[in-house]
Structures are given as structure tokens and as C-alpha cells.
Symmetry: C2
Subunit: 322 residues, 2 copies
């Protein structure tokens, strides 16, 4: 671990001014070819690395994006998108500073304040709909809401249209001959219900709503009794994790899937492709969504972003063919 060389060290070593050294290393402005080469050699020799804090301070631009991560991005599908976002931004020389979504507004405010001067753009991957957007208004950053509740009209967002995929799943369940369709939902998982209702209404069916406390394996397992009690012959779960938890319940109670109960989930969790039976699911538009977020980050015009991207059904064994 050595003390890093500064631009001044390089300039001195090459016998030029700091201004010229900077020009040569950053390719801004003309430098005589021979001089530029001497400067680059000196930089290499001294192992010069520019200081990002100094650059950020002076140029008022850090190329660091803040990401506030909520529970819904702790899933496999969420992490997949986050990793894709990181690698795509990295190609454009942006870096990501992460922070867990705090439980309170004050803590969130403190987090964003800590980031001031180093993070000019913040992506929310999670937001509490009960929070007031006021705390954001007195902060100097720019905000984007990625697949989470948006606190007001004026904020930019990119979101999966969950209704389209949910409707496709329920339509497929109905087409396979099922009539008693349950929807195991969590009230914080938004957007699916509209699609489920719409697909049912198109066939003049009523959905059996079953509320769940969470979106995890155990929550799907715990919903088993209510599903059976309702006499359902098909279930749409808000997440694949819940659907897989219900698989365990069905096994313990001798219920055959999809024979007695057909199942569909949401998220394209990779475990679904290896479950028994393989799980039908709805996939997020990962690539398109990440592209929209990257466009937002790199847009110097700062045009408003209000993107809603369709999801799609991946049909597997858990929805039988009629």
C-alpha cells in the first residue's frame, strides 16, 4: 500500500505544468505528441491514479449512483436485475453505492444526506407507500423509482406491468379447464390483482381471494389450508416462492399438482424450472427495464421517465394442457 502519486507529481516528473499533464492524461485539448508520451510514461512510472474525491468535488459529478434496496429486491429475481444494472452501468463508467431501505423516514433521510456530494442520482428499489415525499424535496439528488411504489406524480419511475403477465397466467389456468381459481395475494405486492380480475371477468368467473402475510415459502405453505377449504382447483400466487411453499403443503396433504390443483407463480425464480412439477410463472422484462434505468442515469436532458413494461407468462407443467 503506497501513497498514491498526484497529478502534480506526474507533471513534475515529465517537466510540464499540471494543466498540460491533465490534458494529456484525460485527452482534453491538444498536447504535442512527444510531450504527451513523456507524460503518459511518467504516469505509468509513478503509478498515477486520479483521485475520485477531488475530481467529484471540482467537476461536481461523481459517476456514482445510489441504490436504495427494499425487501422486494432481496429475491432472486430482484438480485438478477440489480446485478444486470450494475454491470450495465459499469460499462458506462458508473458505480453503485448501495444502502438497505431503512424502516423509517428519518433514517432514510439520514442515509441520503450522508450521500450528498458523492451521489447525485438515486434509484429506489423499494419504497414505503405510507411515507411522505417531503423528505426527498429538500435533498439535492435526482430520484428514480424502480419497480416500487412511487410517492407522487412528479417522480420518475420504471416498472413491470404485472397485470399483463398475471392475466396471461389466469387465462391459461381457465383454458386448462379450471373454474375455482384462487389468488393468494399480499397487499404490498402491487399490480397483479388487476390482471387476475380482468382475466377472470373475461370468462365470467369470480376469483377466490386469499390474503397472505408475506411473499415467502412459508407464506405459500401457510395458505394451503385456505386454498383447500375454498375448494380451489387452481391457484395464482403473487410469487414463485409462495407457490413452491404450497408445493410442500400439497405434498404433505396428498394433493396432486396439477391434477387436483393447477398452480402459477410470479418472478421466474430459477427453482421453479426444477420443481416437481415444473412451475408456470411470469417473468419480468429484465433487459428492457435495466435499459430504461440506464437511459435515465445517462440522460443529461433529464426528460421525465414514466415507463411501464409488460411481463410475460412462462408456461410449464404446473398448468396442464386441457
Amino acid at each position: 500500500m503506497k501513497q498514491a502519486a498526484t497529478l502534480k507529481d506526474v507533471a513534475d516528473a515529465a517537466g510540464v505544468s499540471i494543466r498540460t499533464a491533465g490534458r494529456a492524461l484525460r485527452n482534453d485539448g491538444p498536447v504535442k505528441a512527444q510531450v504527451a508520451e513523456r507524460i503518459r510514461a511518467a504516469a505509468r512510472e509513478l503509478n498515477y491514479v486520479p483521485n475520485a474525491a477531488a475530481r467529484s468535488l471540482r467537476s461536481r459529478s461523481s459517476r456514482i449512483i445510489g441504490a436504495v434496496i427494499g425487501e422486494n429486491f432481496r429475491t432472486e429475481a430482484g438480485q438478477r436485475r440489480l446485478a444486470l444494472l450494475e454491470s450495465t452501468l459499469r460499462e458506462q463508467n458508473f458505480h453503485i453505492l448501495i444502502g438497505a431501505l431503512p424502516t423509517g423516514e428519518r433514517a432514510l433521510s439520514a442515509l441520503l444526506r450522508d450521500w450528498t456530494g458523492i451521489v447525485e442520482q438515486v434509484i429506489f428499489l423499494g419504497w414505503n407507500p405510507e411515507w411522505n415525499a417531503e423528505i426527498l424535496e429538500c435533498l439535492p439528488q435526482r430520484f428514480l423509482f424502480f419497480d416500487c411504489p412511487v410517492p407522487g406524480e412528479k417522480y420518475d419511475f420504471v416498472r413491470t406491468d404485472r397485470a399483463s403477465g398475471a392475466a396471461a397466467a389466469v387465462t391459461a389456468l381457465i383454458a386448462s379447464g379450471r373454474r375455482q381459481i384462487a389468488h393468494v395475494f399480499n397487499r404490498f405486492a402491487q399490480g397483479r390483482q388487476a390482471g387476475v380480475e380482468q382475466a377472470a371477468a373475461a370468462e365470467k368467473l369470480r376469483i377466490i381471494p386469499i390474503e397472505s402475510d408475506g411473499l415467502e415459502l412459508r407464506d405459500g405453505f401457510n395458505s394451503g389450508a385456505a386454498i383447500v377449504a375454498a375448494g380451489a382447483d387452481a391457484v395464482f400466487f403473487d410469487t414463485d416462492r409462495m407457490a413452491l411453499g404450497f408445493y410442500r403443503y400439497a405434498h404433505e396433504h396428498g394433493i396432486s399438482i396439477p391434477g387436483e390443483i393447477a398452480v402459477a407463480g410470479f418472478d421466474d425464480d430459477s427453482a421453479g424450472a426444477y420443481a416437481i412439477p415444473t412451475l408456470s410463472t411470469v417473468a419480468h422484462p429484465d433487459l428492457d427495464a435495466v435499459r430504461c434505468v440506464v437511459d435515465w442515469v445517462t440522460d443529461r436532458e433529464r426528460a421525465p421517465v414514466r415507463k411501464v413494461l409488460p411481463s410475460r407468462l412462462i408456461r410449464r407443467e404446473s398448468i396442464p394442457h386441457e
Copy 2:
């Protein structure tokens, strides 16, 4: 999005010097109570937020930790530890800048250089054992290797002792009456093999080694044929994901688990607790490991860190009682 007020703005508003304003807001040094209150009121009024870039530059300390994330931390167990690390560091006012482990040494070097001046400490959550540590030597940062290969004697690390948990798993398989024990391994997943071999040797048994290309569901599924061909009555998988992939293979081929083949995995993936049968697994020492990493981050003495923490068996239905 307003222009942020500076410390000078606050000082002017309160009618004091910038030095005194700083003292009052940071609690360093004495300020007359009444004056301090006036300064704090002005800061509140102007919505003052200190500029992190300026502070980092001057104080040569950013409280931002770099995390270079490899494939092995893309798993549920890895993300769980990363989330725990983030929230624990956050309590101490540290933030995490993330970057995916690049595929080449040059790209890694570029990444770390980009971070210079803003990140003084880097945690590697992934490292390619074929790489040369030389690229690290000419960088100004301090490095820790968390549960990944370490490039040389002089580097700090914190690691799970996988051998202890693997040995416990194999010992349990043997105690349940199994004798033909296979180990489905990947050569990049280090540390388990020693434990597996040791537990087998203690009972004068030979392990059936089965190499796998990866550590995912599909790899476990793909290992099914070799497991059956070897006549195994028990299998230890390097990951739970592989074990669960094998569950699918066993189902498709009418093999009963644990009746015909008992199974154990590694990582304490939450899906294992809901699998059919529930999966025996080895858990990482999450809390202890994160505590060691945080100690490393906050240690101003920079004492060498060489921590190896034991893993533990979680026994479930996939290992029958004799």
C-alpha cells in the same frame, strides 16, 4: 432539487466564521451554547448537508467500503451475508460501493483505480485463484478476502471452515447406515473435500467423487446419472442448489429420497427447509463472519486478520435416522 447550502452559507447566516460553524455542527471543540444553537438553527433553515466529496478529499477518509462481488456471492446465502454486512456497516456510518468481479485482471485493476480517492478499503467477495496479486500491490487500497481464494500470504481474510460442516454431514450420513457415499463437487468450491474425506476415513470408507461443472440446480440434476451409475446410497453436494436439482432428477427416475439415496447439501438455502423431503444442509457462520469483517473495517491498528470460522450441520429429513 435545490442547490445545496455550504458550510460558508451557514456560517454567514449565523454571523460566525466557517471554522466555528464547523465546530458546532460536528461537535469538535468548544462553542458557546447560545452560538451553537444559532448555528444549528441556520443549518436547519438552509437545509445544510455536508458535501461528502469535499470531506473525503480533505480528511482523506470517505467511510466508503468497496465490495467486489463474485459469482459465489450471487446465491441466497451470499446475498444474506452481504445484506447483513451492509446493515451492520451502515450502523457504523460506513457505506458500500459494489462492483461485480470482472472476468479479467485488467478490468479489475481498472475498477479499483476508478475507486481511488473514494474507497480506501476493499472487500473481495470473490477472486480468481489464477490471478496474480501484483495488480493489488500498486494500488493504494487495503484489501480483505471474504470467503474466497486468497492470492497470497500477506493478505487478510475471513473464511468459513467448510470442512467442519461437511465432515458433520458425511458423519451423519454414515451413522444413518449408508456406505456408498458420493461427493458431487465443483473444483472451484473449496474446503468441503477435506471434511468429506476425513469423515469417511474415520469409518474406513472411500468416497465416490463426482465432478460437476457448476454449483447450480441444473448441475445437480445433471449429476443424477453418475450418482445412480456409481450405486450411491448417499450423496453430499457442494451446494443446496445442486442437491435440489438432484431432487428433480430423483423424481423423474422414481428414486426415493432418503429411502434409496440420502442427501445433504451446503449453504442453508431457505428452499431446503420446504423441499420434499426437507434438505439437510450446512450453514455458514453468518453473524460471526460479518462481525469479523466489520472489525477489520473499523480497526485503525490494521492488525492482520486471518479468521477461519466453523460451519455447522442442520439435520433434516433427507438424512434418515438409522
